[in-house]
């Protein structure tokens, strides 16, 4: 685990937003560069090798998913944190399934964002309340027993509990206190959920996201 101030690049097609994030993170994070398109981002990441890429979900030319796919082919250990104003579940789920280690909304405060960046750098997952809600929703239906891989297709009741508190906006240490477990254990549960989210064969995941899109 690396320590110290994490380094990031900001990938977003809105300059005002990049400037805003850079200002917010000024003393907390080292910003190595900014990119506003998919190609630019791929080159920049290869050149600067940041700890974490702050990645907009929506971008012309394939969006965040395309960036992740390209970078993973040369740097499989690169860590991504998705940032978005879009709350469309299909986009969020897609970018997390592609390999982002977390998703936060753009309304997040500077210190919270810096904290999230550090956590992603350390290999943990970062779930915003909204992502927790999406996951609870997507894993809500019970599958027929013969189709289920319990390792990947189901959440444990403890994981559900943790996600519920995240959805309610509680911090990890508050959740740890409530459940009488350590913050590290909370982290472990969240990482386990992330893994399930990325690897589960639940064919509903995409169908669910699309259907939610229609409802929202």
């Amino acid at each position: 685990m690396s320590r110290g101030i994490p380094s990031v690049v900001i990938v977003d097609d809105h300059r005002i937003f990049r400037t805003g994030v850079r200002a917010e993170l000024a003393d907390l994070v080292e910003v190595l560069g900014e990119a506003e398109s998919v190609e630019e981002a791929i080159g920049l990441i290869a050149d600067t090798q940041p700890d974490v890429v702050l990645l907009d979900v929506h971008m012309p030319g394939g969006g965040g998913v395309e960036v992740i796919r390209e970078v993973f082919s040369v740097r499989p250990d690169q860590r991504f944190l998705a940032l978005s104003v879009s709350d469309a579940p299909e986009d969020v789920i897609a970018v997390v399934r592609a390999g982002a280690r977390g998703y936060v909304t753009k309304t997040i405060t500077g210190p919270e964002l810096a904290d999230a960046v550090s956590r992603v750098r350390d290999g943990d997952a970062v779930f915003s309340p909204r992502l927790a809600g999406f996951v609870l929703d997507a894993f809500a239906d019970s599958l027929p027993a013969d189709e289920v891989d319990p390792e990947l297709d189901q959440l444990t009741s403890r994981e559900r509990e943790v996600l519920r508190y995240i959805a309610r906006g509680y911090l990890y240490k508050e959740i740890a206190h409530r459940l009488g477990i350590s913050a590290k254990t909370v982290e472990a549960h969240v990482s386990s959920v992330l893994r399930k989210l990325q690897l589960s064969n639940r064919h509903e995941l995409s169908r669910w996201a699309v259907s939610r899109r229609l409802v929202d």
Binding site: T107, P129, R130, A132, G133, L136, D137, A140, R164, A167, R168, G169, Y170, V215
Partner: protein, 405 residues
């Protein structure tokens, strides 16, 4: 009786002894109703009961007076008079049957007459008391005195009626020699059961009526509580906001306009549910509305969804009130969070804030918001509300409601 000739023959139930036949005849021909009454009794005795059959026939044929011809004397027919009338009628019928050669035996007939008399007495007591005139109702003491007098009178009459019916039963048993020959227990039991049924039926009837009245009262008070909760959520909240923003005329005007629209819509009757309305949308809309009115950010996460119904509307209203409370008292603690979980069996909503918190045991009882608009509202729908807070540690409100079906 101004123009008697122009009036058709009608039974005058208001002045009746039995069914108002004689009173009607008397009115129609402008004579004292006592004349036809005495006439009927004489004929009935003279013909050994045929006259009574004629009376029954007239009862059936002549319609009762309807409409509002003359102001009636609103009065209760005395229980005694009805009972006597029915008893006499029963006697007449029996005599008529005897005259016609149909006669069972003294052992059957006399108990029958006695029982008819007693049952008529009991049943006449179960009719509701007449409406009180306002003047009577005005003095509480007088009314109570009158009530207790009436109750006592009714009680002794009822006792007499019961005695008559039971006596008739015993008379029947004795006359048939069943009391001696105890072997015929089945007949004895049957008679007792029939007697008890006749006696208890009026009591049961009254009991059912008072249950219905109580239920109506409960519904009325529930409606009052809903109305109070609605006024609190809308009008009182707006007035509080208006006071706080008194220095900004355009803000105040906007608040007043919105409240007016809302109140008008409500008075015109709540709009029917649009078929497409969903609970998740309603919760989000409520959060947006409070965010706009209060200027406090609210983060909403909803898991699952379902169509709205009346109970879920109440659930949304309670959630909205919890959000309003949080926006009012905990706005400086950062965004308010609403998390809702909609499952097949139940819906759940959490409203969390990081405000100053409070001691739930020390909320003044007049704080309608918490007690009525949130807890009361959910509990009236059979749900459950829990408020956890403490000084310095924020507040969480948990609302749970089982879904219908």
């Amino acid at each position: 009786m101004g123009k008697p000739a122009s009036q058709p023959l009608r039974r005058d139930e208001a002045n009746s002894v039995v069914a108002g036949v004689c009173a009607g005849i008397g009115r129609r021909f402008a004579i004292d109703p006592a004349v036809p009454r005495i006439g009927f009794v004489v004929i009935a005795i003279g013909t050994s009961g045929i006259g009574a059959l004629a009376y029954l026939l007239l009862w059936a044929v002549i319609p009762a007076e309807t409409g509002d011809g003359e102001p009636r004397r609103p009065r209760r027919r005395g229980s005694w008079r009805i009972a006597t009338g029915v008893g006499l009628l029963a006697l007449s019928i029996v005599l008529a049957f005897r005259q016609l050669g149909v006669w069972w035996s003294d052992a059957l007939v006399w108990p029958l007459v006695l029982a008819a008399f007693g049952v008529a007495l009991l049943w006449s007591l179960t009719r509701p008391a007449p409406e009180e005139s306002p003047a009577e109702a005005a003095t509480d003491g007088a009314r109570r005195a009158r009530r207790s007098r009436e109750a006592a009178g009714r009680f002794s009459l009822a006792g007499f009626g019961v005695a008559l019916v039971l006596g008739a039963g015993l008379l029947f048993l004795w006359a048939n020699g069943v009391l001696d020959a105890a072997g015929d227990a089945a007949l004895a039991a049957l008679v007792v059961i029939v007697g008890l049924g006749l006696v208890l039926a009026p009591l049961w009837w009254r009991f059912a009526r008072s249950l219905a009245a109580e239920r109506a009262e409960r519904i009325r008070s529930q409606e009052r509580a809903e109305l109070a909760a609605h006024l609190h959520d809308s009008v009182l909240q707006t007035l509080a906001l208006v006071q706080r923003r008194a220095d900004d005329p355009s803000d105040v005007a906007q608040l007043a306009r919105r409240q007016e629209r809302e109140l008008r819509a409500w008075l015109a009757g709540a709009p029917p549910l649009a078929p497409g309305e969903r609970l998740a949308d309603a919760l989000r809309a409520a959060a947006v509305e409070i965010e706009e009115t209060r200027g406090t950010p609210i983060e909403v996460v909803v898991v699952g969804d379902c169509p709205l119904d009346d109970r879920l509307e109440a659930f949304v209203a309670a959630t909205r009130e919890a959000l309003t409370n949080a926006a009012k008292f905990a706005a400086d603690g950062g965004p308010i969070r609403l998390y809702a979980e909609i499952e097949d069996a139940r819906v759940k909503a959490f409203v969390d804030d990081r405000g100053e918190g409070f001691d739930p045991d020390r909320v003044p009882p007049d704080r309608r918001g918490l007690r009525e608009s949130i807890i009361g509202r959910i509990e009236r729908q059979g749900g459950h509300a829990e408020v956890r807070s403490g000084p310095g540690r924020g507040t969480e409100v948990e609302l749970t409601l089982a879904r219908s079906e």
